[in-house]
């Protein structure tokens, strides 16, 4: 459905690099765009939205969005776009924000219902919380009934609870509106829950393009469990050391020997892996 073959020179913090993307996206896919910051994820999204220039070709279904450096304007692309931080119109109430994009009151009410915002529809954006603002942005992005929804790390500033609530809403809307969605995300659990395909960018190039399982659950050797974490603290207790490691939102303690500690420093990114044991899983009530 979407064919992208583009190049663009980027000037980032690490000097300049070439964004070079050759990508085909099928209708209905939910793509997670991942990779270190400065790798070109947001730029790719903005090029798709018509907010940045690029060289190459972009075609969507039967229409051509970019050919060489000739491009069609964002107004004509009919896409839904959600920014990292809220970009609501502060002079309009929540409902007016939606109707500004499209005067269909029924659609607006349905979206507000799905996102549980009906009671707030006459409030101004200033009085909303971060999570509420992002829900309004999501609704507004869908008001023109786009076929393609582009999400630029829209949930990164939210707390875990609100995040997971919005993730569910995004999935619901993705299916209900038969969308093709591309979402920039760093959060493995988010990618795993939402995406059908993960594309990892590095230095402007695609370095991985596979299912979330393949990309996220890759472990080395015969390890059964492997987590990425950050070393928060090293405590000496008698002759051993206890390391406190943050894995996502969880903290764990691990016993280490003096030799193991010698190569570690607080703040290091670490991988915790284990092989021969049977994990037990129990539901938390």
């Amino acid at each position: 459905m979407i064919k992208i073959n583009i190049t663009k020179e980027l000037h980032g913090a690490k000097g300049s690099m070439i964004l070079e993307i050759d990508l085909h996206i099928k209708e209905g896919e939910f793509i997670a765009l991942s990779g270190p910051s400065g790798s070109g994820k947001t730029t790719l999204l903005r090029i798709l939205g018509g907010l940045e220039k690029a060289q190459g070709d972009i075609s969507v279904a039967n229409s051509i969005w970019l050919k060489g450096s000739k491009t069609i304007s964002p107004q004509k692309r009919g896409i839904g776009f959600m920014f990292q931080e809220d970009a609501l119109f502060n002079n309009m109430t929540l409902l007016e924000n939606l109707l500004f994009a499209n005067k269909e009151i029924d659609l607006a009410q349905r979206l507000l219902e799905i996102t549980e915002l009906q009671e707030l529809q006459h409030s101004y954006p200033k009085n909303l919380s971060g999570g509420q603002k992002q829900r309004v942005s999501l609704c507004r992005a869908l008001m023109r009934q786009p076929k393609i929804l582009l999400l630029d790390e829209p949930l990164s500033a939210l707390d875990p609870k609100m995040r997971s609530k919005l993730q569910k809403m995004i999935v619901t809307l993705h299916h209900e509106f038969s969308l093709t969605t591309i979402m920039v995300s760093h959060e493995p659990s988010e990618i795993y829950k939402l995406a059908t395909r993960v594309i990892v960018l590095s230095e402007g190039k695609i370095i991985q393009d596979d299912s979330p399982k393949e990309v996220l659950l890759k472990t080395t050797g015969s390890q059964k469990f492997s987590f990425m974490g950050e070393l928060l603290e090293l405590q000496k207790v008698d002759t051993i050391f206890i390391a406190v490691i943050a894995i996502g939102q969880q903290l764990v303690e691990i016993v280490l020997s003096k030799e193991e500690v010698s190569s570690l420093q607080v703040g290091d990114k670490v991988s915790i892996a284990t092989k021969a044991f049977n994990p037990t899983l129990s539901k938390i009530t």
């Binding site: 939205g49 964002p74 107004q75 920014f83 970009a87 119109f89 499209n102 023109r144």
Partner: protein, 229 residues
């Protein structure tokens, strides 16, 4: 003690300022929007030209405008020959001169207002299918009301307060080009200090009231809609 001339002079000042504000708003709106959005290489050039009236002595500006509008110049001659309009030493000359003189005071607040807007908000409007024109009037301007008000009030006040340019291109014809600031100058010249006091006192108190209302409005607006970022 109320001089019948006084009403005339103040009315003339306000008429001049109001017309100037309307004309300049229409000119400055597209110009300031363009300056706020462009990355073009000619932006500094345009900004420098726009800001010139701030640093230029009013007599210099007035002199050039006088030269350009007089019947000896191609522009002045054109208007005289084609429309039979004389462009110096009348009210039209004051309006033209004021538009040049006050241009930066309209453009600069609007431009910095537009620049302070959240860029994503403007892009969101484009993505919602709105043209630049619709975006300016429905999104950009309503979100920079304090800047719009500041631009209008400062331009108005600045035009009421102008003196040198007015004297150069308009002279001091009662009821035609004799505005309040020129009247005060003449009163001081003939040592009529009591009249000068009245005129000046009126100017001072009105300026203060106007500025106070602007700041009160801005404070209220920011409480209601939040600061624009």
């Amino acid at each position: 003690m109320l001089d019948p001339m006084m009403l005339d002079t103040f009315m003339l000042s306000f008429k001049l300022a109001s017309i100037t504000v309307v004309i300049l708003f229409i000119i400055a709106l597209p110009l300031s929007w363009y300056l706020s959005q462009t990355h073009s290489k000619i932006k500094p050039l345009l900004e420098a030209i726009t800001a010139l009236p701030i640093v230029l002595p009013p007599s210099v500006l007035g002199f050039y405008i006088l030269m350009a509008l007089s019947q000896n110049s191609p522009i002045g001659a054109f208007f005289k020959d084609v429309f039979d309009i004389n462009l110096v030493f009348n009210f039209k000359a004051l309006v033209i001169a004021s538009c040049f003189y006050s241009l930066p005071f309209m453009v600069q607040p609007l431009q910095s207002g537009f620049e302070s807007l959240n860029k994503n908000m403007i892009e969101a409007s484009y993505l919602a299918g709105k043209s630049q024109f619709q975006t300016i009037f429905q999104v950009a301007l309503p979100n920079i009301k304090p800047a719009v008000l500041t631009a209008i009030i400062i331009t108005f006040a600045h035009t009421v307060g102008e003196f040198g340019v007015v004297l150069m291109v308009g002279g001091s014809i009662p009821g035609e080009t004799k505005v309040a600031s020129v009247a005060i100058y003449e009163m001081v010249e003939i040592m009529d200090y009591s009249q000068a006091h009245i005129y000046s006192g009126i100017m001072l108190s009105m300026s203060f009231v106007v500025l106070l209302s602007v700041y009160l409005f801005n404070a209220k607006h920011n409480r209601k809609f939040g600061l624009n970022r």
